[in-house]
Each structure stands twice: as C-alpha cells, then as structure tokens.
Symmetry: C2
Subunit: 282 residues, 2 copies
C-alpha cells in the first residue's frame, strides 16, 4: 500500500475516530488539527496522529478530511484551499451533503483539488474526542457524493473507497448529494427527532421498573448534541419536514382507529408495518 | 426452598420461557398446557416442564400462571376456577391489567384462590415457543398488581416475589392496575406503535447503505404480532391515545420550527429532550 499523508481537521467523535482507525489499520501518516489544543495533545499522546497539522504539513497532504459542522466546514475548506497541493482530495464528514457539496465542489476544482462529500454512517450518542474509538466504522457504510463526473473525481472516489475498506467500513455507497439528503432525513434525522420527542412524556421520569428493551431502544439517541443537529436539520428541513409530516399522519391513523374503537383497522395498520419490517434488509 | 407445583397455561414466548426458567433455576415442578399439542411435546422433550397440566395436575397446583391473550386469559381462568385447590395463587402474564384484574379478582377470591396481575417486563419481537429461553427474565422487572389489600394477596405477592427473583428478575414492582396501564401505554405500547409507524416511509425499503444504529434501534419492534397487540392496545386505548396525542403534538412542534426557519426554537426543543434523557435513570 502506498503511504499517504492524511490531514484531519476537527478531532471530534468522527474525525478523531477516523484518525485512530487510520493509525490502527493502515501505514498512513496522520496530521490533526483541533480548536482545543488539549485535544491535539491527547490525540498525539494516544497515537491517534503523528503530528499537528501545520500549514507546512497541510501542503503535503494527499487527503484532507474535515470533521466540523457544515457551515464551519465550508468556511475552513475555503480558507485552507490556497495551501493545498494540486491533486489533493478533500472530503468533509458532515451529515448533510447538498449545502456542503454545492459550496465547495466548484472552488475546489478551480483550485486544482478534488472535493468529495463523505458521510460515515456510524456514530454514538456522545460527542467529542473522549468517546472516539478506532473501531467506530467496523461494518458501517460510507456514503460518497461526487458531483461533477470528472476523471479526478473518479480517482478520488477510488482512493477514498480503498481507505474506507482498510479502516473497517463494510461498504461504500456512491450517490448524489440530493439522494443522500433525502435518505438521511429518514434513516437518521427522523430517528433522532423521534427519540428526542419520545422522552417528553411525563411518564418518562417514572420509567424505572416499567420499561424494557423497546423503551431502551427508543430513547437511546434522545441524547444528542443540539448545536450540531440543529444545523443539520435546518439545512435539510425540506426533506425532514416531509418525513415528519408522513410520520405524524401515520401515527394519527392508529390514534383515530383506537378512538373509533375500530380494532379491525388498527390490526390492519399494525399488520402493514409488520409486513414492511419483514421485507427490510437487515 | 419449599418445592411448589406450578401450572402454566399457554407456552408462548412468555409462558414457555417462564417454564424453562423455573426448571433451570428452581427445584419446582412445572406442568404445562398448550392449545397445540406439538408445543407441549417440544416443551416436555426439552425439559421445560415435567408433564402436561391435566385437570388432576391442575388441582394440585400451588401457583397457576396463564400466558394467553387478555380475553382468553379471563375466559380460561373462569373455566378452570372450580378445579383449583383453595389457597392457589393465579397470575396472568398479560400486557394490560385493568381489564384482567377487574374481571378476575372477585371471582377468584370467592372461589378461595388469590388472583394477582403480573406483567414480566421482558420480551422479544418474535412470538411462540420456538423463541423461548430460560434467560428471558434476567435483569428484567416484574410488575405485580394486587387489588384487594387482603392478607391472602400479601402472601401471594411474597410468593411470586421470591419465585421471580429466583428465576432471574432484577426487581419486583407492586402497583395498581390503573398505574400499570398508564405507564405501559408509554414505555411499551407507544414504543411499538412508533416503531411500526416509522417503517412506513417509502425510504425504508432503500435503507441499506444509508442506515446505522439509530435506524436499527427504531425499527426493531416494528416486527410485532398484530393479533396480540391489537387486543392490548384496544384495552388500553384511553391511555395510549393520550400518549399518542402528546407525541404528535411534540413532533409537530419540531416540524413547525423547521418550517418557520426558526433554528433557535428547534435548538431549544432538542435541548429540552436531551436534558430529559440525561436525567432518566438508565
């Protein structure tokens, strides 16, 4: 394997775990940068990176990952662009793609580097370097969203694909930013809103002794970082409000069947959901 | 430990697992009865019970558990009542309590036996004897709902409490049927409706490659037995529709904040949920 020089800006849960995974599973060199210098020291001390990502180190990078919130990702990439060597591949690690890819693809191409949207489908309900782990991406999928169809993009996707499989991802999915945002509104964002709303019943505080696995599953991601998720939700609110409307309509159907004392309709609604679940790939 | 004779009617997931757990963890004798004779043979063959619960075996039982759906539980207990010895303790294993306790407490007391509502807070998304396991109740809680405040009930609760801890339950919670049904509407029933509704987005069928832990958690119990849950939901629909209304209102608040482009309100709503989740006992 060719040894690459990889920069990572933002050593939070995703960026920090990626640093650890690259160091654990590949021979590549990792330079990291974080707003908090204490985190950089921790990352150095535990071997998650080889050094701090100085401007000099940045100019030698073959790949640059940016693990910041969307707006800050855009700002940071535009700032660092003049320092990057031609042919460098930049990938963000954000949970939404239209906004980020729309803002960065063109300026990056003009600067002679290749931007690819990337979203690792892995996470934990906690954030920050203290929760990072080299094994975060095991069996997860990585979504990549090239937009321009150039040969440079194809090469960049192959490079990221190889690296992803090396650090433990099960699969790499290539799609458009639009399709990414549509799917993620449902599979991830709606799940988080739902869990966060579910805990708001007054019964939640009395659950001990009255709850089991279904309660535990439903409440896990209610614990979320509201700064990050607000930004992600707002940038995808067309898709997310559509999913929320659909879910509210579906919940209302069960409620109305019960209010009408209509057991047959209720049973048909439950059967419908059970049959869909049966057909889902695991 | 005094050796008890225990009857179990209905060898489904809960009744069958209870039979296995009693045989694995206690010296008690278990007699079981099931509509399908094939299940009885399986239960005998794998040592989940000592024999079939004939009328003669029933008349010697110290405890009788009934693991059937609510309406059938009531019918079955009333039918078997004349065969039971004085002082026998009967416990159902249903997911709702007002209806069952209301129908059975008085007739049982008159017949000289003691009825206690019982709900093991354990389960799996699959039903039937093939999914039973002796370890189903490990670290779960058992809810008991005595209603009459008699000395016989107190003795029965102590007996069931001791047996529950012996087969692996972590705790026994004693409450009223009304409080049980109110809490379960939220902790279990709402979670099941929600999961069953969540899979109804057209995106669900395309989730592979776009989903991770939050999707997995949210969809697990979408697979449910609609016959059983329809009966449970209909008998608790006052509480469950109230929880559904509250949840729909809460979901609507997030949706409206996004539609209005109001990031501050959205963030406050997410923070509220996160803070509640932080305060919940694990």
């Amino acid at each position: 394997m060719q040894t690459l020089q990889i920069g990572i800006i933002g050593l939070g849960l995703i960026g920090g775990s990626l640093a650890k995974a690259i160091k654990k599973f590949t021979p590549h060199t990792v330079y990291g940068l974080n707003r908090s210098k204490g985190t950089e020291q921790k990352a150095l001390a535990c071997g998650a990176m080889d050094g701090v990502l100085t401007d000099e180190a940045l100019s030698g990078c073959d790949i640059l990952f940016v693990g910041l919130y969307p707006a800050l990702t855009i700002k940071t990439v535009l700032e660092k662009l003049p320092l990057l060597k031609k042919g460098c591949v930049i990938a963000d690690l954000c949970g939404i793609k239209r906004e980020v890819c729309g803002a960065l693809s063109e300026p990056c191409r003009v600067a002679g580097v290749t931007f690819i949207g990337a979203h690792p489908m892995a996470g934990r309900e906690f954030s920050g370097f203290d929760y990072t782990t080299a094994d975060l991406f095991q069996r997860a999928s990585l979504i990549l969203t090239p937009t321009e169809g150039t040969e440079q993009e194809e090469r960049a996707v192959r490079l990221l694909d190889g690296l992803a499989l090396a650090v433990g991802f099960r699969a790499v999915v290539v799609t458009t930013p639009e399709n990414h945002d549509r799917m993620i509104a449902y599979t991830s964002q709606l799940a988080h809103v739902l869990s966060n709303a579910y805990v708001k019943s007054p019964c939640a505080k009395e659950h001990t002794g009255y709850s089991a696995g279904s309660f535990k599953d439903l409440t896990r991601v209610a614990y979320l970082n509201e700064e990050m998720w607000t930004e992600l939700f707002m940038q995808n609110r067309d898709n997310l409000t559509q999913e929320l409307s659909l879910l509210i309509d579906n919940l209302t159907a069960y409620k109305q069947a019960m209010e009408a004392g209509d057991a047959d309709t209720l049973k048909a609604l439950l059967r419908e959901g059970r049959e869909i679940k049966e057909q889902l790939q695991p």
